[in-house]
């Protein structure tokens, strides 16, 4: 009959503090994504800067151009008046391009660190270390948030510098508000991806679920603006609460609400990930 080794034996080593693992994972995650501010931030920032640079030359004709748009189209894309560089950047970049691109980036980031790592076999090595899966998921969520912030900062810098150089009259604070507003929206889809990763093992499926939710909720918001019958359903779309911070200022309550939903989704995903098999 054998006797179990007591955990309190002299040789017992206690698990390191959770903070050690969290900090190490965040540091490693940032290192893994160190090129993202350049690639994602650089490309989206260049496009936004280009729009800003074009503004002085189209400023006079923009109002006429908008007048020629169908009312439904203007409603769908939130273009009421194109009378400022902020409104122009909003219509061209912040209403569709940047939220969808960075929403997809956030999904990709969350998938890569969890179910993607599982698919590549990395978790067999990583989860032999003294860290909980909740810590792994939490660190992945934090990395996604930090990298998104760095990307948004690059976009802001490129756009504001360009606007200043060409004399577009871009407000630094309005632009910052517009870009900060993107963060909770995109983090929410990182939360959706994390939740899906807590249930599904295949990275392609998790990406499809989260990216599908991104596209579907965007379409729901646009369709709700156009069709009165489905207008009440817009409340289900995060894009309904995203608004247009570059033109109307940051709605802190919406930012907080979207961030809370993102955190709740990620926390639920972490809990499910903790309990499921790693294949």
């Amino acid at each position: 009959m054998s006797t179990a080794v007591h955990a309190t034996s002299a040789s017992a080593r206690h698990a390191p503090r959770r903070a050690h693992a969290f900090v190490a994972l965040v540091r490693q995650g940032l290192r893994d994504n160190r090129r993202a501010p350049l690639t994602w931030g650089g490309s989206l920032g260049a496009m936004t800067a280009l729009m800003t640079a074009l503004w002085p030359s189209i400023e006079g004709s923009a109002a006429k151009l908008v007048d020629s748009y169908p009312a439904g189209l203007k409603e769908a894309f939130g273009i009421s008046q194109l009378d400022s560089v902020e409104a122009y950047v909003d219509a061209e970049m912040l209403s569709l391009m940047i939220p969808l691109a960075l929403g997809f980036f956030a999904v990709r980031c969350a998938v890569r660190a969890t179910v993607g790592a599982e698919d590549r076999g990395h978790l067999d090595t990583l989860l032999a270390l003294p860290l909980s899966r909740r810590t792994l998921v939490g660190a992945s969520f934090a990395v996604t948030g930090l990298v998104l912030l760095s990307i948004l900062t690059v976009i802001w810098a490129l756009t504001w510098i360009t606007g200043t150089v060409v004399g577009a009259g871009m407000s630094a604070s309005a632009l910052a508000a517009g870009l900060v507003n993107v963060w909770p929206l995109t983090m929410l889809f990182a939360g959706v991806a994390t939740l899906a990763a807590g249930i599904v093992h295949r990275p392609a499926t998790v990406t499809a679920i989260a990216a599908g939710a991104l596209a579907a909720t965007y379409v729901l918001d646009v369709a709700g603006k156009l069709a009165g019958a489905i207008e009440p359903l817009r409340a289900l779309s995060p894009f309904r609460w995203y608004g247009s911070a570059i033109q109307h200022g940051l709605d802190v309550s919406h930012v907080v609400a979207l961030t809370l939903v993102a955190v709740v989704l990620a926390a639920a995903g972490a809990q499910l990930f903790e309990r499921r098999d790693v294949l």
Partner: protein, 319 residues
């Protein structure tokens, strides 16, 4: 090879050493893991004692990796329980992993990292700052820690895998096919390192296909087949029961009848001047019988693991 400074003991203080043979570092009770309707492992009852090197053997798909992954908490047991280092494998998983080193069957990690970067990262997660032990192991295994993993051969990546499993001086090391891809010299060094761990009271649980390696280093072995642990035995006892394939080439034709009545000889096939047969147990009587004829060549080979399982454990009961 370099002489390492005296490493710390991996077991309890000397006063507790007499428990080495009786304390359980791994203990499973009716451990069962099913994947839906598919079989994983069934009612595995296993005890690995402190300070022993335990070999876990079985053909591909037998359940070795499933057992290891269940012990490590990567898979949730369908039923049953496991305790490692006296702690519950699910509830105390993080504490267990602080005292455990693991090399998975397929060691893969972000291949953009160099060995040093990977080890620094893992040390950070473990709350360690000193990588001295990793550097010593790297010297012993002749591992290049400066190159990205993607630039390393399979064997050299495996060395990094071994270092990350051992560098924090774990009390229990779980290794799934640890010598895969290693050249013979490094296999030898690995066996030396494992022996040193045992000397310091550490426990090693390793799965392997290599019977020679298992025979050389393991104190006991467990054999798993079709998800069930069918035998646990001392290596010497198992070796004594193992048959060998024998091929003898004579200077002249010999019939199978030449070995009639020789103890332990089975399945004799004669082909002109060649006899092929299997021997169970002592070879002495066989050699003496063969010596009656002029022998040109004699070849004795051990059975593959699978043959061994089929012969001795074909009905799920040790011979």
């Amino acid at each position: 090879m370099i002489a390492a400074p005296p490493p710390p003991a991996l077991a309890p203080p000397a006063g507790e050493r007499h428990h080495r043979a009786t304390t359980a570092v791994i203990e499973t009770h009716d451990l069962c893991k099913r994947y839906g309707s598919s079989r994983g492992i069934e009612d595995v009852n296993l005890t690995v004692r402190r300070g022993e090197v335990f070999g876990f053997l079985g053909p591909n798909g037998a359940g070795k990796t499933t057992t290891i992954r269940t012990l490590l908490g990567l898979l949730r047991p369908t039923s049953g329980s496991a305790r490692l280092l006296g702690l519950d494998s699910r509830r105390d998983s993080r504490e267990i992993r602080a005292r455990l080193g693991n090399l998975p069957g397929e060691f893969v990690y972000d291949d953009r990292l160099t060995g040093h970067e990977l080890l620094r990262f893992f040390a950070g997660v473990r709350g360690m700052t000193d990588l001295g032990s990793a550097d010593l192991l790297a010297e012993r295994f002749e591992a290049d820690l400066r190159r990205p993993l993607r630039e390393l051969s399979r064997g050299n990546r495996q060395k990094i895998g071994l270092i990350q499993a051992l560098f924090h001086e774990p009390e229990l090391v779980v290794l799934d096919e640890p010598t895969t891809g290693l050249d013979p010299l490094m296999q030898e060094e690995f066996l030396t390192v494992v022996g040193e761990r045992r000397e310091r009271g550490g426990t090693v649980f390793l799965s392997s296909h290599d019977l020679d390696e298992v025979e050389r280093i393991c104190d006991r072995v467990g054999i798993i087949r079709a998800g069930r642990l069918i035998a646990v035995d001392e290596v010497q006892a198992m070796r004594g029961r193992a048959f060998r394939h024998v091929t003898v080439r004579f200077a002249h034709p010999v019939t199978a009848a030449a070995l009639d009545g020789v103890a332990g000889v089975h399945d004799v096939v004669a082909d002109d001047a060649t006899l092929r047969f299997r021997v169970l147990g002592d070879l002495d009587a066989v050699i003496k019988e063969l010596a009656r004829h002029r022998v040109r060549d004699l070849e004795v080979t051990r059975p593959t693991l699978e043959e061994l399982f089929l012969t001795f454990y074909g009905h799920g009961v040790p011979a």
